[in-house]
Symmetry: C2
């Protein structure tokens, strides 16, 4: 039994087995492009041929700096098919950061949206920059068709993505054909995301972000319809697309889900087609889970990391409890481990901790789609004999359910005891007057560290009642030293709360 | 990204992640053994340790000659965990055939049920025969526990199974850890068998048969409950187990499904828990599909071969038509190709045929769980540059739906035109007076070959009316030269109609 595990075969599969399933591109404004896997596959093999023709060699990095549109999805397939490595650049970074990353990756060619072109002023790839307008269409039209699978080994890289991380410079994570092939199967398991030919998936998560959770590959393998929302999608546009296209599956970060919910509540948009709203990137509040489920939309959480391709867990519950509160609490956990992966939690001395839901330790993950090094070998201390040290502190209960307690560096050490910033944030978010909240540590002369809370209120300008109600929910020694009311929390380039910035601002 | 694809990790996964999901063994009579993946995993690591202790070396063949009981399921996991190769012997073969196969495989140890022990009179494996009674329990009890994964490469064999084939001696098919690992993922895809932690699977297909379709591995990976019916399961016992255990998934050959349906109709057994009745091994009649679906049981078909681990297709229809007749006809097709595999149909000159539902050719299949040779290299003509020549003649339509027209050797060449014995059998089965039917070719002086029909009637002793009605359904030149009424059709050791025997009897 042989047969290399090449990511690229899924495009050919969709072209042959699901030629008439749609790919729908909203290109901003009223323009909507509709084509199908037959036409998509045709364009992909031409684009792959064109890349080779203009000088892209096997193993070369071909970067994208693009919004979520159909051409980006074509590049997802065509670059690995050409034998090259798709490098998705993050369009929310500064020109300086992009220049650093493109230089570090030694990108040979960059395909960029015209409105993002200015972010590449400091970058001069050997084969130039192709804009996703006429120049791109000329490439596709000229071909020639690239026949057959790429001349690559399954352990060669297919995709490269940089994680901004929280310390030091961004680091590259290289994904092998084999790793992504297996990750794609995992995304289609009945007990996982269960991506199926019956699905219409909407790509809200930016495609530059950790392969957008691997869903583009999974949808292609399954022959699901795919919908691209185009540049700058607003929640109004997302809601309207869900309604018009009868979207069944969509993933997003909790903050977008909050805004989308507000919009759906105000407008009464029909979201009844959704069989799965999948939240990832940070822990959703119980209130958010409850509110969506009250609208009839099943909510799941997937936990992962750029270093894990990215998915490691899913919260599908084989035997959900009748009690809605308990059901929502389980959805708020990070869920159970996907088949194929292994994990452990270890304390500071490297001792493995029991699965009792109480013992905490750093989470380590291992498996065929988990990185075993960074792109050029940086930060080797993050890897240990096949295990990835995630930097997350977690508990695992007897049923194998994960709860991320905190990032190792976000834990607050107060008088020798640990305070979880995540738990404190969730306690704040349970308050009706709190729209958003972040907790960071400030140095303290007596207790070493103490928490302070940065809070977005739903109108009130007085933090005292919020603190009073918080006191009823958390141990006395967890109570923040201070509450700062702000209009909005700063976000990182992938939409998470930027705690690095908050620390710099409030806890210098 | 590394991490070997070892089949054995799924047992450890079930032990840790689904410790309390049940394994239920009906041991004949009223005895029912209930334990769980926690206890099962414990016994498996002890059994694996015991195998090593008594002299089993990595790569050694350890054979089983067993019914479907919990000990057989333990051997499924323990033998590969010990680094050895599980060789499932077919208990329906004669002692001579078994002696040939055990000798060819060079089995070092055989674990056999006491009531099957006599079939091994001519076999003397180096490490002896262990009976699945006290001797087996002593092995498990003595251990020691084997820790960690086997010292094997993912391309090493984990399982070996012989296919009796239709010509020549039986041939061995070796399954690698990698191939079965991927096959296991495929069995759990949402668009495939969709084996899930919510399932309770009943193993009706004998575990000696092509890894019983890979379902034991899939159920273990998913953490599904597994039920073993024990020795000599009757349809009455199968029905009773489905009702008592609330079985959700069961696979079987069509002939068993016919008898089970009769029983359920007569007794009113509650089979409402079934979410999937999966038929495999031969093409079911439309009547059978309709009758089960009329009882509320969704019917699927999976097509495969021992050489394909065994599954290649599934008939889940993403967009089933409203018309029940058309729905049943689609279920009667062999379905669509599982992701990971590729196929083609080629004519006698090796020219690939179009997917138009009309053009026919021999079906070739390729992929990471498809054999690329027999165990000791026999019949190399069955393999062509990674492709398996299945020996089946098929059409594929524009939507990628397969229809097996016939076995290459079962096609009837009449006057330069081909008659499909399968199509003629289906036309006969559509007659209310026909319970079962087989068609074989007889030599003919003028037309080269002509079909004759061997028919099991539902009571009538006059074949003429059956022929009259058949004439309304098939072209005139398809009409059989003769109809032979018999009490029952002969079966092969895996439950298929034994056409070899019919040919010997009726078309010498």
């Amino acid at each position: 039994m042989t047969g290399a595990l090449l990511l690229t075969e899924f495009t050919e599969r969709a072209r042959r087995h699901h030629p008439h399933r749609e790919i729908v591109g909203y290109d901003g404004g009223d323009e909507v492009l509709r084509y199908d896997y037959g036409a998509y596959g045709e364009r992909v093999v031409r684009l792959a041929g064109a890349l080779r023709r203009i000088g892209v060699k096997p193993g070369d990095r071909v970067a994208t700096l693009c919004w979520n549109h159909h051409r980006h999805l074509e590049l997802y397939a065509a670059v690995p098919l050409a034998g090259a490595v798709l490098h998705t650049l993050n369009l929310r970074l500064s020109a300086e950061e992009i220049a650093y990353i493109a230089g570090h990756a030694d990108d040979r060619l960059i395909v960029a949206d015209p409105d993002l072109r200015h972010l590449l002023d400091g970058v001069h790839p050997e084969l130039g920059v192709v804009e996703t307008g006429d120049a791109y269409e000329e490439l596709v039209a000229s071909g020639p068709v690239l026949e057959g699978p790429p001349d690559r080994d399954e352990n060669d890289l297919a995709v490269l993505c940089y994680t901004s991380g929280t310390t030091g410079r961004p680091k590259g994570v290289g994904y092998t054909h084999r790793g992504l092939y297996l990750h794609t199967f995992a995304a289609c398991l009945a007990d996982g995301h269960a991506i199926s030919a019956t699905d219409t998936v909407l790509h809200v998560v930016p495609l530059f972000h950790a392969n957008a959770w691997g869903i583009p590959f999974a949808a292609t393998m399954a022959g699901a319809a795919q919908v691209l929302p185009g540049p700058h999608p607003s929640v109004a546009e997302i809601a309207s697309i869900v309604e018009r296209e009868r979207v069944t599956y969509v993933g997003m970060v909790p903050t977008v889900a909050v805004d989308l919910l507000d919009h759906v509540r105000r407008t009464g948009t029909d979201v009844s087609s959704l069989r799965a709203l999948v939240l990832g990137g940070s822990t959703p509040s119980l209130e958010l889970i409850r509110a969506w489920e009250d609208r009839g939309v099943p909510v799941f959480q997937g936990w992962g990391m750029t270093e894990i391709s990215p998915m490691a867990t899913f919260t599908r519950d084989p035997f959900p409890p009748d009690d809605p509160g308990e059901r929502h609490r389980r959805t708020q956990s990070q869920g159970t481990l996907l088949p194929g992966l292994a994990w452990r939690i270890v304390d500071d001395d490297g001792v493995e901790q029991p699965w009792d839901g109480e013992s905490r330790g750093e989470l380590h993950v291992r498996g065929p789609w988990v990185a075993t090094s960074y792109y050029l070998g940086e930060a080797p201390e993050r890897f240990d004999d096949g295990w990835l040290r995630t930097g997350d502190v977690a508990t695992i209960d007897a049923t194998g359910r994960l709860r991320i307690v905190d990032r190792t560096k976000d834990l607050i050490k107060s008088g020798g005891e640990w305070i979880s910033s995540v738990a404190l944030e969730q306690a704040l978010l349970a308050d009706d007057d709190v729209a958003d909240a972040a907790v960071v540590a400030v140095p303290h002369p007596r207790w070493q560290e103490r928490p302070i809370a940065i809070v977005v209120s739903r109108g009130t300008t007085d933090a005292a009642p919020i603190l009073e109600r918080l006191a009823e929910r958390v141990p006395r020694w967890w109570m923040p030293e201070d509450v700062v009311l702000v209009d909005a929390l700063p976000r990182t380039s992938v939409g998470k709360t930027d705690k690095k910035l908050l620390r710099a601002r409030y806890a210098p």
